[in-house]
């Protein structure tokens, strides 16, 4: 495991924390998209191309879109 994987994996944790603590739900969704993409890259690094393809299509694609629709139909701000 090289230094690149270390950095990517640490980044995953930071992004996850950012998703949880962002007040703006749309911003959280965008961060979640980046999280899924980095997860897909890490999966490629771990020699799992099938899973990476699925994670990119589902996590970064469909799931993010569904979150955006839901936020559009409900509310964008997380209340205090």
């Amino acid at each position: 495991m090289g230094i690149l994987e270390f950095i990517l994996m640490s980044f995953l944790v930071i992004l996850a924390i950012a998703v949880v603590f962002a007040r703006d739900l749309l911003a959280a969704t965008i961060v979640f998209l980046v999280y899924s993409l980095i997860m897909a890259i890490v999966f490629t690094q771990l020699k799992a191309p099938d899973v990476a393809l699925t994670e990119a299509a589902v996590g970064a694609g469909i799931t993010t879109l569904l979150f955006i629709i839901t936020i559009a139909k409900t509310t964008r701000r997380e209340e205090e």
Binding site: P49, D50, A52, L53, T54, A57, V58, G61, I62, L65, L66, I68, I69, T70, A72, K73
Partner: protein
């Protein structure tokens, strides 16, 4: 202006995305991907259509009834393949036993592809369905 650009790009992209999705389904046995991934990609093309035009044009391409029919057909195809193996005297989903004029491994290969296609049909309808249901009555 932006709408025109988005619509044009969408119209150009959608066939290519669908073609790529079908490629991913068909090449599941030899390269990364398979029925599920390809199905999601084709489903995503319908979503792109809905996003760049509006929901009704996506509905026009694949209506509610068509989607439900594809959905059930895919699942029934998979379960049906399993039951055919059972009728041929093997275990459920034991493709190798199905009497085709080939070596058992090749028969299995064919049915693995067929199962991928069944999953693809199922998922492409469902991915579009899930999106359209959530987005209904609301233009985005």
């Amino acid at each position: 202006m932006t709408t025109v650009v988005i619509q044009t790009i969408g119209r150009i992209l959608v066939p290519f995305i669908q073609l790529f999705g079908l490629y991913v389904i068909i090449h599941g046995p030899v390269s990364p991907g398979g029925g599920f991934q390809g199905g999601v990609i084709v489903g995503a093309s319908m979503i792109l259509l809905a996003l760049s035009y509006d929901l009704s044009s996506a509905e026009a391409r694949a209506s509610h009834k068509v989607r439900i029919a594809m959905d059930s057909t895919g699942a029934l195809l998979f379960a049906g393949i399993g039951l055919v193996a059972l009728l041929a005297g093997g275990f459920f989903l034991e493709y190798g036993i199905i009497p085709l004029p080939m070596a058992p491994a090749e028969v299995r290969g064919i049915f693995i592809l067929l199962v991928g296609v069944a999953i693809g049909i199922h998922i492409m309808a469902l991915a579009a369905s899930l999106f359209l249901h959530l987005a209904e009555e609301h233009e985005i």
